[in-house]
């Protein structure tokens, strides 16, 4: 049994152990000695208990005898046996159910009193029962409730009376009895209970305190992972709750708005009643602007909502840009639910009277400011209108469409209320998309083209071929852009913009006829550019002095910015300048070419302008401006609308706007042209597609087809201009543009 000279390999639990039995057991002696090499496993017992006499004896006995001997078992205190009264105690039998017993959770709690009557109580009960009937259970319930309501001291008798609705005598007897019984009772309560821990920790070592609460959940060691997961779950939960809160708040807001709408509607009805406006005339008069308004205001943006609260109708009216007037017939704006107005909408359509009274000319300062803000916003970001919001245009990179805070975006309107759109074909189709175009750097006219924005902001010209090409090529581009002084330019621009704010309603219907005539004359005569300035005063008529001032200042500022911008770009007086010429040209109406530059938008503009100018001195120069064409005449629209609006109110001169600049700058197309676009345009732009008012539309069509055509070389081309508006495809396109334009807001 000497120490081994080698060290046995560690026992490998994964290694197969061959099993030897009986006879084939090898040299046992060897084995025994080697056995020491196997590490002894602990028994798992407390050390001092392990050595206990009886255990060791039992272990030895087992090892020796391989079975337990009766005398070798570990002795335990024995209790003597059978309880002979068991059957009397546990009465009845319990049938074993066939199925496994399945307990219903919480099905166990019968509300039974925890207190069990003892023999002492029984004597009391017997005594009491001589006078009244008191069942043991009743008594137990009483004691149970009293005990559970008491702490170290039994509750007072009055308290007991409150607690138990029992006969006074009975209660008193039981109460007195309990007081005595408690005095003799060694425990804190007559219902024996395991001692509970005290919060102060004084019971930490009390052997009789058991079942303490586990304050910490568990050791984190094993459950750390778990905790992380649940932490994340909690975070998620929190997020979802806060989202819920947001949603609820929005609902609250919505419901408030609804209520407000209701109140306002009521108010309107009352007012109408007071005014005896039973025919709805006044209402429709007042609500025209509301209809228009729906075209641009942002439905989505929450802040808007508040404004409506205090506004009365009059106030809100001015908010609508006059340009929209062209569009005002627009009946739908489904997706827009600008509060109360929306509900009234349908009414407006039906109620719109053939002739409309003048609208009040008050302008809400706040509204103007808001508006200005928009325009300045656009200046800062001139490209935005030209970039396509197409989702596939991601590669636009920096030019990609981005929503801006504070802007509202309207979705395109896809339906026109009236007028069936003429189907375009041939040249018409061409004119629909294209416009006469001149380049400013190689100074020449490139003929009919369509501009669009390419990747990286490049300006591309799509040039369809047409029979006109030859004639157009010989056009002198200078006719489009005579050079002008900066000051002049400025003032012109300003003039245009002011007009834009003209809050006048238009009275298309009234002027329909005259408009038509006017158009003829207009075209023929051509308006001088000067007209613009002259008309200014009238145009501004509706605006208060103060508003005018602030606005003017802002405009000047804007202009300066624009100029600075264009100069920086190394353009000559460039972008702004070229436009001028167009106007000029168109105004003079001297050239056929001019008419060619008309696209649908310009036609529309022209029409509206004409409409609003009964007297012919207004020169409607068709906004040929567009001639320079930007994509599908977006800008034109703006012009036209601004022009029209300005004209309308004055009712007198239609001063065409010239304003807008659009020549193709050298490669900077988007920038320059955009910069030229006033924010107002954008609005208009959006307005246009959705809204050509039927009369205006008609007018435009007529006008272009009748009047201009003759002058314009390609008569058909012009023709088309008027009509194209309704073309669905076009509309769709416009829709997109609209969105872009809306960004301004």
């Amino acid at each position: 049994m000497s120490k081994l000279s080698f060290r046995a390999r560690a026992l490998d639990a994964a290694k197969p152990l061959p099993i030897y039995r009986n006879g084939d057991i090898p040299d046992l002696n060897d084995c025994v000695s080697i056995n020491r090499a196997v590490p002894q496993m602990p028994t798992g017992m407390e050390k001092e208990e392990e050595s206990e006499h009886h255990l060791q004896r039992a272990i030895c006995a087992q090892q020796v005898f391989r079975e337990k001997k009766e005398c070798m078992v570990i002795p335990v205190p024995e209790a003597e046996g059978n309880i002979n009264y068991y059957d009397r105690l546990y009465k009845g039998e319990f049938r074993q159910p066939k199925q496994l017993i399945h307990i219903q959770p919480f099905g166990l709690d019968y509300e039974q009193p925890d207190y069990d009557m003892d023999s002492e109580d029984e004597t009391l009960l017997n005594r009491l029962n001589r006078k009244m009937e008191l069942k043991p259970l009743q008594f137990e319930i009483m004691v149970d409730r009293l005990e559970k309501a008491s702490a170290n001291q039994l509750i007072t008798l009055p308290e007991a009376k409150l607690l138990l609705n029992e006969d006074d005598y009975l209660l008193k007897s039981v109460y007195d009895y309990l007081v005595r019984k408690r005095k003799n009772c060694r425990g804190p309560s007559l219902i024996p209970q395991v001692k509970q821990e005290k919060r102060d920790g004084s019971t930490n070592n009390d052997a009789y305190v058991a079942f303490r609460r586990r304050t910490e959940k568990m050791q984190t060691r094993k459950n750390r992972k778990n905790d992380e997961a649940s932490y994340e779950k909690m975070l998620k939960l929190r997020r979802e709750f806060s989202r819920t809160v947001t949603i609820l708040e929005m609902i609250k807001k919505r419901e408030k708005s609804k209520r407000e709408l209701l109140h306002l509607t009521l108010e309107v009805v009352e007012k109408r009643f007071q005014m005896s406006d039973f025919s709805g005339e006044v209402l429709s008069e007042v609500s025209v602007p509301l209809a228009e308004k729906t075209v641009h205001p942002a439905p989505i943006c929450l802040p808007n909502g508040n404004r409506h609260k205090t506004e009365n109708k009059v106030k809100s009216t001015p908010k609508h840009h006059p340009h929209n007037v062209t569009v005002k017939a627009e009946p739908h704006f489904d997706f827009i639910r600008p509060h109360k107005k929306s509900s009234r909408k349908p009414k407006l359509d039906t109620l719109r009277p053939p002739s409309r009274p003048e609208r009040p000319h008050t302008v809400n300062t706040a509204d103007i400011k808001q508006y200005d803000f928009h325009s300045s916003g656009e200046d800062e970001n001139p490209q935005s209108p030209s970039s396509e919001p197409d989702e596939e245009n991601d590669p636009d990179g920096a030019f990609v469409f981005r929503r801006r805070a504070g802007c509202s975006y309207l979705s395109p309107l896809t339906e026109q209320s009236d007028g069936s759109p003429p189907v375009l074909a041939g040249l018409d189709a061409m004119w629909q998309r294209n416009a006469l175009t001149a380049l400013s750097v190689p100074r020449r006219c490139v003929g009919v083209a369509r501009r669009r924005l390419g990747r990286g902001g490049r300006v591309l010209l799509d040039r369809p071929s047409s029979e006109l090409d030859r004639a157009l090529r010989h056009l002198d581009p200078d006719t489009f852009c005579p050079s002008r002084s900066l000051a002049q330019l400025l003032s012109d621009i300003q003039a245009c913009r002011w007009r834009y704010f003209q809050p006048r309603p238009l009275h298309q219907n009234q002027r329909d006829e005259s408009g038509r005539n006017a158009l003829h004359e207009d075209d023929r005569k051509g308006g001088g550019v000067t007209g613009t300035s002259s008309s200014r005063n009238t145009v501004l008529g509706g605006i208060t002095e103060e508003q005018f001032q602030t606005h003017q200042q802002q405009l000047v500022q804007m202009q300066q910015q624009q100029l600075a911008q264009s100069q920086q770009q190394g353009l000559r007086p460039s972008s702004n300048l070229p436009e001028r010429p167009h106007v000029h040209v168109s105004n003079t109406a001297s050239l056929d070419t001019l008419s060619k530059t008309l696209d649908s938008a310009s036609a529309q503009f022209a029409a509206s302008a004409v409409v609003s100018t009964p007297n012919k001195d207004g020169k409607t120069h068709n906004t040929a401006v567009n001639g320079i064409l930007p994509n599908s005449g977006k800008h034109n629209n703006k012009f036209s609308s601004s022009g029209s609006s300005s004209v309308r109110p004055s009712g007198a001169s239609s001063k065409p706007l010239l304003a807008v600049p659009q020549s193709l700058p050298h490669g900077h197309g988007p920038l320059s042209s955009v910069s030229a676009v006033s924010p107002a345009h954008t609005h208009l732009n959006s307005a246009r597609p959705c809204a050509p008012s039927p009369p205006a539309l008609k007018l435009a069509t007529v006008a272009s087809s009748l009047d201009r055509v003759p002058k314009v070389t390609p008569a058909s081309a012009i023709d088309s201009i008027g009509r194209d508006k309704n073309e669905p495809e076009r509309l769709a396109l416009n829709g997109i543009e609209t969105t872009v334009a809306m960004e301004v807001t």
């Binding site: 026992l11 490998d12 639990a13 994964a14 061959p18 099993i19 030897y20 057991i25 084995c31 025994v32 590490p39 002894q40 496993m41 028994t43 798992g44 017992m45 407390e46 050390k47 001092e48 208990e49 392990e50 206990e52 006499h53 009886h54 004896r57 039992a58 272990i59 005898f65 079975e67 005398c71 078992v73 570990i74 002795p75 335990v76 205190p77 209790a79 046996g81 309880i83 105690l89 546990y90 319990f94 496994l100 399945h102 307990i103 166990l108 039974q112 069990d116 009557m117 029984e122 024996p192 395991v194 001692k195 070592n205 052997a207 009789y208 058991a210 079942f211 910490e216 050791q219 094993k222």
Partner: protein, 446 residues
């Protein structure tokens, strides 16, 4: 009244040691050395609570002065051997070797069978104890919150070292508690504590029990029956959902489990109560508790066969059942430590029989010697690997031969196993088990 306390008797205080008369299993007189843990004076008669050195605490008892061998009285030394109130580790009894030496010196008559001291063994057992001692650090702190057993001695003060309940009546049986149990203190003075056999509620008198039985209509443990074969059933009770029953069960169990702790609530445990059915209902035979989530592969926390049912195979049945549950869970398991003496014997016996059953059944295929890995045994039985190894060692089956470990089944091992298995009638039938383990980590805590 006339009884005069001898002066010597007055001198006997806590901590004194002297031989005390007790009867052994053969009903012979013995005078094992005992330590006085407590002295009480009732009606002028002195009673001494004695702990027989090297006997299990469960044999501690109150004795009359006439059983004391006053001639050999030893007074406590300075470093008192009595457990101190705060249970400092210093109060632990010294190592077995020293104890033996001292005892033989003092009392040569003590019958004592001790294994030859094995070098290295002591060191290792110490090692296993270290964990448990760390937590106490000499200062009584709140015990760890996992598990159900105290392995540190922070509770080893004089109160818990002494039995406090004299007798418990449970159904047809009277039980003599072995250890302290924190039943309400006012009940500890009763000669008999009455328990409702089915809900285990404690009552101070038979009258109260009678009254209680009119209100308690339980006839089985208040849980789901997950196993039934013949008259044997197992009920599963959730310590969180059924606190009252769980606590009552724990109080009862504590009477027979020295190291069981009732310090914390029963929430993290499941209780599997084994019952035997007769026409009166399902009578509790024993139980084991189990942590819902064990960090240490424990598949049993506390396990107890009630004394009236002991030595009849129920303990092994409980153990077998606990491993059946582990098999369903697909885990190996081991009982929580420390084991009691009876626990160790029972488990060793179960492990031995289980492993030998497998080894004997192994058939050699194609004439080769049959072989098996420890891991395989562990997987088949759900017995944790360490327990397999310790059992193989204990049975002396594992040997190192010619450079490799082998298992040797000697004749007496085989014979002893076969005899034992013949006596083992009670077996768990896995087919009768209807148990789906729950993933407690995914539920709310416990």
């Amino acid at each position: 009244q006339n009884y005069v306390v001898s002066p010597r008797l007055m001198e006997i205080v806590e901590g004194c040691r002297l031989p005390v008369l007790r009867k052994n299993q053969e009903n012979e007189d013995e005078w094992p050395l005992a330590e006085i843990l407590s002295v009480k004076d009732t009606l002028g008669r002195k009673l001494f609570y004695v702990h027989y050195i090297d006997f299990n605490k469960r044999l501690d008892e109150w004795v009359t002065p006439d059983r004391l061998d006053m001639k050999k009285l030893q007074f406590p030394k300075k470093e008192a051997k009595t457990p101190t109130k705060n249970g400092l580790p210093g109060s632990r009894p010294s190592s077995p070797e020293r104890e033996v030496v001292r005892e033989t010196a003092l009392n040569g008559t003590t019958r004592r069978v001790l294994p030859p001291s094995q070098p290295g063994r002591k060191r290792k057992t110490c090692g296993t104890d270290e964990d448990s001692q760390d937590s106490s650090d000499g200062i009584p702190t709140a015990p760890r919150m996992t598990g159900s057993l105290v392995s540190d001695r922070s509770h080893d003060d004089i109160i818990t070292r002494m039995k406090n309940i004299d007798c418990i009546e449970l159904g047809r049986h009277r039980l003599k508690p072995w250890y302290f149990s924190p039943y309400p203190q006012e009940l500890t003075t009763l000669p008999i504590l009455y328990l409702c056999e089915f809900c285990l509620k404690y009552l101070k008198s038979l009258k109260c029990l009678q009254r209680h039985l009119t209100k308690c209509n339980l006839r089985h443990p208040p849980g789901n029956e997950i196993y039934r074969k013949g008259t044997i059933s197992f009920f599963e009770i959730d310590g969180r959902k059924n606190k009252t029953y769980s606590q009552n069960l724990c109080l009862l169990a504590k009477c027979f489990l020295d190291h069981k702790t009732l310090y914390y609530d029963t929430d993290p445990f499941l209780f599997y109560v084994m019952t035997e059915y007769d026409c009166k209902g399902f009578h509790i035979v024993g139980y084991f508790s189990k942590e819902k989530e064990s960090t240490e592969d424990y598949n049993v926390a506390c396990i107890l066969t009630l004394p009236p049912y002991q030595r009849r195979g129920y303990g092994k049945l409980l153990i077998e059942f606990s491993y059946e549950l582990s098999k369903v869970e697909g885990k190996t398991g081991t009982p929580e430590k420390p084991l009691s003496d009876l626990g160790l014997l029972s488990y060793r016996s179960y492990w031995s029989q289980t492993i030998l059953e497998i080894l004997m059944d192994l058939k050699s295929d194609n004439g080769e010697r049959p072989q098996i890995t420890i891991n395989e045994i562990s997987e088949i039985t759900s017995v944790k690997k360490e327990d397999v190894i310790s059992t193989l060692q204990y049975l002396n089956l594992i040997n190192y031969y010619k450079g490799q470990y082998i298992l040797t089944l000697s004749e007496d091992i085989v014979d002893g196993h076969e005899r034992a298995m013949q006596k083992r009638h009670l077996r768990i039938d896995p087919k009768c088990l209807h148990f789906t383990p729950k993933d407690w980590s995914k539920r709310g805590k416990w």
